[in-house]
Amino acid sequence: MNELNFGYQDPAPDRITFEEWDDLFQKIPDQLIEKFHYFPPNTEAWSKYLFPPQVFAIYGARHLRRLKFDNSLAALRLWGFVNNESERLFRARQSGRKVIAVMGDLGPLAVLVNAFPGCVPFYPDCWWWTPFAMESDVLLDTAARLGIGEATCYSRAALGAFAKHSYFPDPDLIFAATGASCDDYSGVESLVARMTGNCLWIETPLRLPDDTEALVNLLVSEYRRAVSALEDLTRIRLTESMLAKSVQRANEVRRLTARLRRLAYQDAVLPALEMMLVEFGCLHYYSDISEWTEILRHLTATAEYRRQTSQPVNNPDALRLAWLTPPADPLLLTLIEDRGARVVATEYVINQALTLLDESVPGLTAIALSHLNGSLNGTTAERAALLISAAQAHQAEGLVISGILGGSHCAMESRLIAEIVKKKLTMPVLEFDVAPPHPEIDRSTRTRIDAFLELLRSRRCRKF
């Protein structure tokens, strides 16, 4: 029995549909719905979040009707929490917290912001999923009107979200990291900075061999500028112990995530979709690190229980895939699992948010070091190496690269990574661009995925 389920008995692990979650939700006791609140120890009615996908579909997240979800209580908690992040950010402001947008570095700056009591960091970057979740062009059209149109990374949705003032509150401060990262998003940041006039630029250095010390120094001085801005905003002086505590809390999230990755990718006890949410939780904890940590513990207990009782959610013998660059359309992950494959390794451009922070060095140094672990800060070969080591760890049989037409790094590195991986792991590679938001996966992508999985299957047969 999973002790974090508070007496509720999960059904046998399964990936279930939108409708099936509604049936299951009828069995969730009221006490459990009342139990979970964000921004603990707050217990206001508005802070409940244990709600099924139906609710969020009614409020416009149409794609939820097509996804498949893990059927555990912990997963319901995860989905409810992730889906109500917009509201949570507004509630944060209403309850006197400062809302800080951190952009572009995908992880490190959030650790710094979290050191300040009452500050809630969030990544507008993550709103790139919104057009897909809603099957909607609203944010992309808005971005286009502002200057960033088609053939650009879907992260342009963040620009639309800023202009709309209704997906998150206008931030008290914006930190925009730019440099050795993606140009599409740097362009978004540029327009956001001009639109809001409230932006502090933070350098993301190019990772060069043997230059770590100098680059850490550079980053630390960048962070000091951020610290000054936060101190001015909050009138709180940052101490080393505040920072150390934030680093420890971030590490707790990263440790739990690492454990979940091992469990999911080795033992097939959690689906790929939920795992993508888990991995991205390392960026800014969906705007509430305390509750997010509890959710990760709950998921871990669920996954451990499944492992111990030999109840995987996916067939462990399913075709094992490595995945490069997070799929903007989450339906892709549902699709590949429906087709008898599972994800066992990922390189979702967020390595900097996954690696543990060094607790033995000063806080800013630790954050700088983690920033330098970035997936995109260095060479393509380094990124390929990250993927290869993850793929080897769980014997991936094929690599899927989901890119975006016009995405600056996709255009430049995808081919090279494919070439390196093919050479090193003699593994087939499927590369495709994620089509714009649509209810279904386009026919050509589906066909290519099917053919790819067929190829992997035939390779398996040949081996035996």
């Binding site: 730019t178 050795a180 362009g187 540029s190 327009l191 190019l206 550079l218 600056s408 430049m412």
Partner: protein, 375 residues
């Protein structure tokens, strides 16, 4: 020499290429570089010959697609292709890249996988505010570059050599600036397309050769009459490759380009390196602080610079040309249009000449529209 005779420049270029070949055979190192953020002074001070790599064409761009996706920047694709086809690129002893835009900063790795030429990645902070730690880091990068070049040439660019190179380049920039101003003067006879040709040549020739060339041009024979009623345009946007004159020629059939913010145009010659400070520090400050490319953050100074040009040169319209998938410039188009309030013609291209006639029509319509506004 007639300044509007491209043939003469072509001849000069060919002479220089032959000369470079000879220099190389005698042990002089040829160092290619892509970007105006590369301090050529250091290259010269290290005893090497800097050669700007700013050519691009459609066949080489298609060749580049072997390793890059179709949605990569055409200039990057073409550059990659040229390493396999252009004799100049193949003669290089080293290449310096700068991590300006994302695509450009990823190019050296691709070049290194295909061509056995030593590459140097110069890290220029993307952020443009002159924060001391950023300039210090860039200075450190210039030291790295110095080591790289010394290793390659066996010559250390010491203080004296650096100061001499700075002085020469300052002089060169100053002379080229005078030419740049000249093309804004109606009736001067110097078209922007030729000015760009000169700039391109200047990044290939030895400085003294360029200076001689300029002195011939500044005292030109009677210039041809120019229609003063032609609309006065500013050219902005992505890099204009030295082998790509289609757009400029089409524009200049009907209008005068009196200003530009192109990195292979006027932006290359702005400002001077201070000669009073430590040379590397002075170089770091100058190059870090150049009028920012659109890819730097913030790039407000670029906007202000454009505004100044508009006022000083009575610009009436903007031609904003971007290479396909050139995000840094493409994304700024709307904001720039709003900022300046001027009519703006936006053009996307990829060296393919596919839409040449359509382009001509669009330019004609734009110029007509400007003329009607004038009336």
């Amino acid at each position: 020499m007639g300044i509007n005779e491209p043939e003469s420049l072509t001849v000069l270029r060919q002479h220089r290429l032959n000369e470079l070949q000879e220099l190389k055979s005698r042990g002089t190192r040829l160092i290619g570089y892509f970007c105006l953020y590369v301090p050529v002074e250091i290259v010269r001070a290290a005893g090497a010959v800097p050669v700007r790599l700013a050519r691009a064409d459609y066949p080489s761009s298609v060749a580049g697609e072997q390793l890059l996706r179709v949605d990569a920047c055409p200039f990057c694709k073409s550059s990659l292709g040229l390493f396999n086809s252009d004799p100049l690129y193949q003669q290089l002893d080293g290449v310096i890249f700068v991590n300006t835009c994302d695509m450009m900063r990823r190019l050296p790795e691709l070049v290194a996988t295909r061509v056995r030429i030593p590459v140097f990645q110069l890290y220029l902070p993307r952020t443009s505010e002159p924060v001391p730690s950023r300039i210090a880091e860039f200075t450190r990068q210039l030291n790295r570059l110095t080591e790289f070049l010394s290793h390659l040439t066996g010559t250390t660019p010491d203080r004296e050599r650096l100061l001499a190179a700075i002085s020469t380049e300052n002089q060169l920039r100053s002379k080229l600036r005078a030419l740049e101003m000249l093309r804004a003067v109606p009736g001067s006879g110097l078209k922007t397309s030729r000015f760009f040709d000169l700039i391109a040549l200047a990044t290939l020739l030895a400085p003294e050769q360029t200076l001689t060339l300029i002195s011939e041009i500044i005292n030109p024979p009677t210039p041809p009459a120019v229609d003063e009623c032609q609309p006065r345009l500013l050219l902005a946007g992505s890099i204009v490759a030295e082998s790509d004159r289609d757009l400029l020629n089409l524009i200049e059939e009907r209008a005068a380009i009196v200003a530009d913010v192109i990195c292979t145009g006027a932006r290359l010659v702005e400002g001077e390196v201070a000669t009073t400070a430590e040379p590397l520090t002075a170089l770091a400050r100058y190059y870090f602080g150049r009028i920012p490319c659109a890819c730097r953050r913030p790039n407000d100074r670029l906007y202000q610079h454009i505004q100044q040009l508009i006022e000083q040169r009575r610009v009436q319209g903007i031609v904003y040309q971007t290479l396909l998938y050139c995000d840094p410039w493409r994304f700024e188009a709307r904001d720039l249009r709003r900022w300046t309030g001027l009519p703006m013609l936006e053009i996307d291209h990829d060296y393919s000449r596919q839409n040449y006639e359509q382009l001509r029509t669009r330019i004609e319509a734009f110029v007509e529209m400007l003329c009607s506004l004038k009336r």
